[in-house]
Amino acid sequence: MQVTIRSLLTACLVFSVLLIAGTDASAAAKKVQKKKTAEVCVVDPRGEILALSCASCHGTDGKSVGIIPSFYGKSPEYLEAALKDFKSGTRYSTVMIRHAKGYTDEEIRLIAEYFGTVWQNNK
C-alpha cells in the first residue's frame, strides 16, 4: 500500500516539475499562470486544489454571505500578506491561525494568487 502511494506521489511530483519546466520564464518569475481560452480560464492546478476548500467558510470565490470575512476582489498581495500574518500569529483569529499553519509559504502564495485573480475572470 505504502509503495503505491509513494509511486502516486512520485507521479504527481514528476508532473509538477514538468508543469513548471513547461511554463515560460515570466511564469517562473512568479507571475500568474493562466491563459484565456474561449471560455475557461486555465489556472494553476495546484493553486486551485489548495484554494477550493477555503470557499466552504468564505463562500464561492471568496464571496461571503454571512459574518465570515469576504475576500472577493482582494489582490494577491493583500491575501498573501494576510495569510502569512495568520500563520505567524501576528494577526489574531479564532480559527485562521490553525488553518494557515497547514500551508508552506509557497502554498500560501498559490492560494493568494488563485483568489486574487479568480474574481477578475468573473467580470
Binding site: F15, L52, C54, S56, G59, V65, T94, V95
Partner: protein
C-alpha cells in the same frame, strides 16, 4: 505555456506505468472526437452536490448529471440547532434549483439502484439507464439496524429516532422532546468509531440541554457511549459544567455506557451494568457506507469504500470515484465539510483526467464547529495532505479551540458557526 503532457511522454517517464494506471490516466477509453464528456454523480448531499457544482463551474464543457431522490435536502449540520429550538426545519432545507439554473447541472429526481462498472451505466429506480464516462458516488451512510438486539428500522421510525439523517427523524425526536414532561430523562446513545460527525451527539446533548434548561429545567440527559472518549471531550465537558451544571451525565463504554439491548416497549436500554429507562431515547446505531456502495461492490470488509487518495477513484472499480462519509479517507473525519472538500478535489481531478493530464496532489480541509450554547461555540480544524502513510493531518496545523479561550473567543466561534453554515450551503447548493 503549454501544460499538456502527451501520454507518450508520461509513459516514458514512468517506466513502470504503475502510477499512471493507478491514477486512472489510461482508464479513459474515450476517442478524441467524442461528444461531451458525461459525468454522473449519485447523491446530492454535501459531497455529491459539491462535486456536481464544481465540475460545471471549473469546466462548463462537461455534461454533469446529478441523481438525488429528495426534492429538499435537510442538512444534518444545524439539525441539532432545530432540536435546541434555535432553527426551524425550513431553515435547514436546501434545494437543487440553482444547481440547475445557475450551473447547468442536470438534476434527476430518482434513486440509483444499480451500477454496471463494465458497461459504465447507472440504472435508476424508474428503470432509466444512464451512461457515464466517469461516475462520482456520494451516498452518505447506511444504518446497521440489526447490530443490537431489539433495535430495527421500524423501532427507529416509531419510538427511538436516531436523527442521524435530517428530515422526518429530526422531527420525530423534536416531537418527543416537546412532549416530554419537566423532570424527564433523555438518553443519548452514540455508536463506536468510525461514524458520521464525531462531535454530533455531544453538540446534540448540549443543545437539548439548552432547550430543557429554558423549558423543562428539572430534566436530565444521560449519554451512554459505546466509546471511552469522544471528540472535543475537554471542551464539551467544560462547557456543560459552565452552562448546564448537573444536567448532563456521560458514561464511557467501560463504565456502563455500552448498550447490548434496547426495548422499545418498556422505553429502556440494557448495558453491562443494568437497565436504564428514558422518556426520550436517541439511540444512534453503528453505520456503514450507503447502500448503493455495497450493491455496486465498492466497499471492503470494513463496510467503507477504499479509494486512491489522489483522485478518490475506487481501488476496486476504475472510473468510479467515491467521496464523503462512505469513503475511507485516512485522518479525515466523516463531516459535511470534509465531504465538500473531497467533492472539490474530485471535480478538479476528474477534469484533469478527462484532459489526459495528471491531477494535482490533493489538499483537503475540515472545520467542525459545535455549539454548546447559543453564544458558546467551539471548533476542531484540520488541514490534510497526502504522504506515503496516506491522508494525514499536517503537523503543527489545525487542532481545537484552546481550553482557556475567553468568553469573547467562544462567542465569536458561535457567530462563525452561523457564518460557516450560511456560506457552505451557498457554496454547495447556491
Amino acid at each position: 505555456m503549454n501544460h499538456n503532457i502527451s501520454r507518450r511522454d508520461f509513459n516514458k517517464l514512468l517506466v513502470s506505468g504503475v502510477a499512471g494506471s493507478a491514477l486512472g490516466i489510461f482508464g479513459m477509453a474515450k476517442p478524441a472526437f467524442a461528444a461531451q464528456t458525461r459525468i454522473v454523480v449519485i447523491g446530492g448531499g454535501f459531497g455529491g452536490a459539491s462535486a456536481a457544482k464544481y465540475l460545471r463551474k471549473l469546466d462548463p464543457s462537461l455534461s454533469v448529471t446529478l441523481i438525488e431522490p429528495k426534492a429538499t435536502f435537510y442538512t444534518c449540520p444545524f439539525s441539532n440547532w432545530v432540536l435546541g429550538g434555535m432553527k426551524t426545519m425550513e431553515d435547514i432545507g436546501q434545494t437543487y434549483a440553482l444547481l440547475r439554473s445557475k450551473y447547468g447541472v442536470n438534476v434527476i429526481a430518482d434513486t440509483a439502484t444499480g451500477i454496471d462498472s463494465v458497461k459504465s451505466t447507472v440504472t435508476l429506480k424508474s428503470g432509466k439507464v444512464i451512461n457515464y464516462d466517469r461516475l462520482v458516488v456520494s451516498p452518505g451512510i447506511d444504518f446497521k439496524y440489526g447490530a443490537i438486539e431489539g433495535y430495527s428500522e421500524s423501532v427507529a421510525n416509531s419510538s427511538m429516532p436516531h436523527a442521524y439523517e435530517a428530515g422526518p427523524q429530526t422531527i420525530l425526536l423534536q416531537k418527543q422532546l416537546l412532549a416530554m414532561k419537566d423532570g424527564g430523562r433523555v438518553l443519548i446513545c452514540p455508536p463506536g468509531n468510525p461514524f458520521r460527525c464525531p462531535p454530533g451527539p455531544y453538540e446534540r446533548a448540549s443543545l437539548i440541554a439548552h432547550y430543557l434548561k429554558e423549558k423543562k429545567p428539572k430534566s436530565r440527559i444521560l449519554i451512554l457511549d459505546a466509546k471511552d472518549k469522544f471528540s472535543k471531550q475537554g471542551l464539551f465537558k467544560k462547557g456543560w459544567d459552565k452552562l448546564y451544571p448537573g444536567m448532563i451525565e456521560w458514561r464511557s463504554s467501560a463504565t456502563g455506557g455500552k448498550i447490548t439491548k434496547v426495548d422499545a416497549a418498556s422505553k429502556s436500554v440494557t448495558t453491562d451494568f443494568g437497565v436504564e429507562k428514558g422518556d426520550v431515547i436517541n439511540f444512534i446505531p453503528p453505520q456503514q457506507a450507503g447502500k448503493i456502495a455495497f450493491d455496486a461492490g465498492l466497499t471492503d470488509a470494513s463496510g467503507w469504500c477504499p479509494v486512491n487518495p489522489i483522485t478518490f477513484e475506487s481501488t476496486i472499480h476504475p472510473g468510479i470515484h467515491v467521496i464523503g462519509d462512505a469513503v475511507i479517507a485516512g485522518a479525515m473525519p466523516k463531516s459535511g465539510f470534509a465531504a465538500s472538500s473531497q467533492g472539490k478535489v474530485v471535480a478538479a481531478s476528474i477534469i484533469r483526467l478527462c484532459q489526459g493530464k495528471v491531477p494535482a496532489p490533493p489538499s483537503l480541509v475540515n472545520t467542525c464547529y459545535s455549539l454548546i450554547g447559543p453564544g458558546y461555540g467551539v471548533s476542531v480544524a484540520g488541514v490534510y495532505k497526502l504522504t506515503s502513510a496516506g491522508i494525514v493531518e499536517i503537523p503543527g496545523s489545525g487542532g481545537l479551540t484552546p481550553m482557556d479561550a475567553d468568553d469573547d473567543h467562544l462567542n465569536e466561534e458561535a457567530m462563525f458557526a452561523r457564518g460557516w453554515y450560511n456560506n457552505i450551503v451557498q457554496d454547495i447548493w447556491g
